[in-house]
Amino acid sequence: MRRSYTLPLNNQSRVTKIMEENVKSIRKLLRFAAPVVLAWTILAAPAVRADDSLDALYQKAKAEGKAVMYTSVPTFILDEWRSLFEAQYPGVKLEYFRSGTGKVLARINAETSAGQLHGDLVWVADATAYPDFAKKGLLASYKTPEWDHIPFGKDPGGYYVTGRILAGVIFANTKETQDFPASWGDLADAKYKGKVAMASAVVSGSTTVMVSGLVHDAGLGWPFFQKLKDNGVLILQDVPDVARAVASGERPLGITLTLYKYQAEYKDSPVKMIFPKEGPILMPSPMGLFAKAEHPNAGRLLYRFLLSKKAQAVLAERGIYPARDDVAAPQGLPPLAEVKQKAIIPDSEWMIAHWTDVKSKWRDMFGR
């Protein structure tokens, strides 16, 4: 009895010893190798300007088997991309972790603290997250030929590039009102008292960007929001809630994104998209590759696929402006080149500098 217990114990300690020795030698190796690898990466980094042919990339990606994307892009778009991608590149799977922008950020944050990121590509709505990622060394620089077709929102360092452009507009329920606001500022007019809904700037990522766009770039300032508050604006959780509230008639007007109008459940809804006279709020949503990706080549292949005309056209079908200038705008929306002339484009540097301020002002006003 006793012997049968001691034996495995001995084995175990031997195993532990061997493991310890291995770890030691690996550590030793790393101590020497790390500076070399680091130097090599730094020297090699600018050279990743990728003209390597898609074919060669595909062959390498096939060996890795899959590309993993961390994203807040809606599921129905991801599913279409997956079918297209896997049909075009058999043998390479497209996997995604899809959640709200906030949860994707929380997961990246936690995985980074734990020491290992499990994604290859990140694509969230909030553009301001990327400079921070790049600063922390989380992103790889990767300029591809597709960049030439993207008119704006490109990081000079090559760490991220706009993949889609979300457009914030006013939704109006035509059954409830025919008196539409002409400008963003009109929303705070007394005649719309109790009639406006929007999402929370501290919960909804795109709303934070829209709020800073309206406060800073459109020059409406905080008095605009104070007036909205005095008029009893309904603050919902997120932008889709606003679309639902307007379509169902809960509130006749709301600040939300164009894409919801294109969803099946709003097809016959009495909803009209209004472009105020200052123009819509354009929000470039960038993507980037993780520096320590588990499937670097498959990640690159996916990156180039997402910037291809084929993948970008899927966005347009769903009411989102493609980033490429050679893919048509969503049906019923003016071309991007035209919209850009007259639009509110939030300044992301200002946003990053004023995050805390925007959040606390919002909290003081709306009680959270």
Partner: protein, 554 residues
């Protein structure tokens, strides 16, 4: 402790594996959370604690809000659950055997769904207003939040009290009657006091659940400018610039509050002895409601129908809706969203994942519940008490935070569970085991040790005493724990939406994703499927174990 456990035969290895496993799975991530709260930029610091202490919007306001809402919810849900349990087990109320199912339905529907249903029912131009022209309740605010949570959480006290009533020794009440007490006096002086551990246990669960709840507050109370600790934690962990250190501090505060309420509970219970169950079969005398029978039945069934069929009907209606804003008449209904759902290639996987993970977590939790309760109540080991406390702390920690702690602990070596079923299974187990532990512990406190001693005296070994006497007597509370964990795991989204990977999606997660895409109709179709499965599962579990049926088999 080892000596005490050693005599229990098979109990010792099972207790070591389950208890040790549970403690590792909860203490290691919890330690990572504590560590996070003490670090900033790689250095040791108290800055997160100072920040929290200095800002009212981080601490004082949300804390007071959370305490008020949770206390109100817990009191209401417990009063309601206890009353309904008494009706179901001890009276001749019409249709009393069906009550369990109707109390269970609003707990099976996820709380965020229940809150959405509330808005779609009672919001401006909502279902109620557009069909009747009336708008009886406000759509947003604190009152709707408390109402929705109360409806959602009545099941906790109901199951706890019904279980205890079912196994209560009727001879105590008979003796009191023989001494000349009226039926009402027996209820007040004998039955109710004996039920105290179970009543408090249900109340504690409702309180903790409400403290950790995110879906209902964010949808119903936040639009009224009313934030809670959980909405604050959510904001700190997801809205840039991320302040997870502060979020960790607030989560630890929730854990401390959980321990405090538990200590209070133990103090209340320390005053009396609640050993009542001697093993005699039978349920005692069914109270005759007499002249009140008809009106009470009408009242009870109106309430039960409104709180179960109401939200379910709203959910089904949304899943069939053609376009928003065109009314809820038959011309605007379609089955198209169900075809969209059925066409999804992840549906079958999600379905099996949901069922498998929920059953697995329920089995682990019920078994751990037994181990913890037996260890704490019978063997009086510190380990049993630690299991008991830790499981409750985990239950009072928001799912989002458990998810983040799990990523911190288990997403990279030495323990890498990333992308596997295990990370979800263990997450559910750690988060919900408290539901298995609390009820069993309360039940065991009421169970006289004499029966087990009698078993030993008549020559049964320890293992056999456990298997033949203790376990069968605990059947109801074990089944209740199993059922609660099953239902809560199958509908979980906060943690799942952080930990799920390709291939490990669940139905609730798929529904949640559709909701966050703004695809409410298809999301509701997924929810309908998930609720149907959870309901069928619960009915099977309840029937198999004759839960809350008022019959004790021996």
């Amino acid at each position: 402790m080892r000596a005490a456990l050693g005599r229990q035969g098979w109990f010792a290895p099972v207790a070591l594996v389950l208890g040790g496993g549970f403690l590792f799975l909860s203490l290691y991530p919890y330690a990572r959370l504590v560590l996070t709260s003490l670090r900033a930029g790689g250095a040791f610091t108290f800055v997160h604690y100072l920040n929290v202490a200095q800002h009212d919007y981080l601490l004082r306001t949300p804390l007071l809000h959370s305490l008020a809402v949770s206390a109100a919810t817990a009191l209401l849900a417990t009063a309601l659950g206890t009353l309904l349990a008494w009706f179901a087990v001890r009276t001749d109320l019409l249709g009393r055997r069906a009550i369990t199912a109707f109390v269970a339905i609003p707990h099976i529907v996820p709380s965020f769904q229940l809150a959405s249903s509330w808005i779609v029912l009672f919001g401006d131009a909502g279902i109620v207003q557009s069909t009747t022209g009336l708008n009886p309740f406000p759509a947003y605010g604190v009152a709707p939040l408390v109402a929705v949570q109360t409806i959602h959480l009545t099941l906790f006290s109901f199951l706890n009290v019904a279980g205890a009533l079912g196994s209560l020794d009727p001879s105590l009440e008979e003796a009191a009657r023989a001494c000349g007490l009226s039926a009402r006096q027996v209820l007040r002086r004998v039955t109710f006091p004996l039920m105290l551990p179970s009543i408090l246990s249900g109340m504690l669960l409702a309180f903790a659940y409400s403290m950790a709840e995110f879906g209902a507050p964010i949808l119903l109370a936040a639009p009224a400018g009313f934030g809670t600790l959980t909405t604050q934690i959510y904001e700190l962990s997801t809205a840039p610039p991320l302040q997870f250190g502060e979020a960790a501090v607030l989560s630890l505060l929730l854990g401390v509050l959980a321990l405090a309420t538990m200590a209070l509970n133990l103090r209340l219970l320390a005053r009396g002895s609640f050993v009542t169950v001697s093993g005699k079969s039978g349920t005692g005398e069914a109270a005759r409601l007499g002249a009140l029978r008809a009106p009470l039945a009408a009242l009870t069934w109106t309430w039960l129908a409104a709180t179960s069929i109401g939200p379910l009907a709203a959910l089904v209606l949304i899943s069939l809706l053609g376009s928003w804003g065109r009314g809820f008449g038959p011309e605007n209904l379609t089955l198209a969203h169900y075809s969209t759902m059925l066409a999804s290639h992840t549906l079958t996987d999600a379905l099996w994942n949901s069922v498998g993970l929920a059953l697995g977590a329920a089995a682990l939790s019920a078994a751990t519940g037994f181990v913890a309760a037996y260890g704490a109540v019978r063997l009086k080991t510190r380990w049993g008490a630690l299991l008991d406390r830790m499981s409750f702390v985990n239950f009072a920690t928001p799912g989002l935070v458990v998810g983040i702690a799990f990523i911190l602990a288990f997403s990279s070596p030495p323990v890498s569970l990333f992308g596997t079923y295990w990370i979800l299974l263990f997450g559910y187990f750690v988060h919900f085991a408290g539901l298995g532990v609390r009820g069993v512990g309360a039940n065991l406190r009421q169970l006289s040790v004499e029966l087990e001693e009698a078993g030993s005296v008549s020559g049964l070994g320890r293992s056999r005493v456990l298997a033949r006497i203790t376990l069968p007597l605990l059947r109801e509370s074990l089944a209740a724990g199993f059922l609660l964990v099953f239902v809560n795991a199958i509908k979980e989204v906060s943690m799942t939406s952080l930990l799920a990977s390709q291939g490990t999606e669940t139905l609730a997660y798929e529904a949640f994703l559709r909701y966050s895409d703004g695809d409410y109709t298809v999301g509701s179709a997924y929810s309908v499927l998930m609720v149907t499965i959870a309901l069928a599962g619960s009915l099977i579990i309840a029937r198999r174990s004759r839960l809350a049926s008022g019959e004790l088999s021996t």
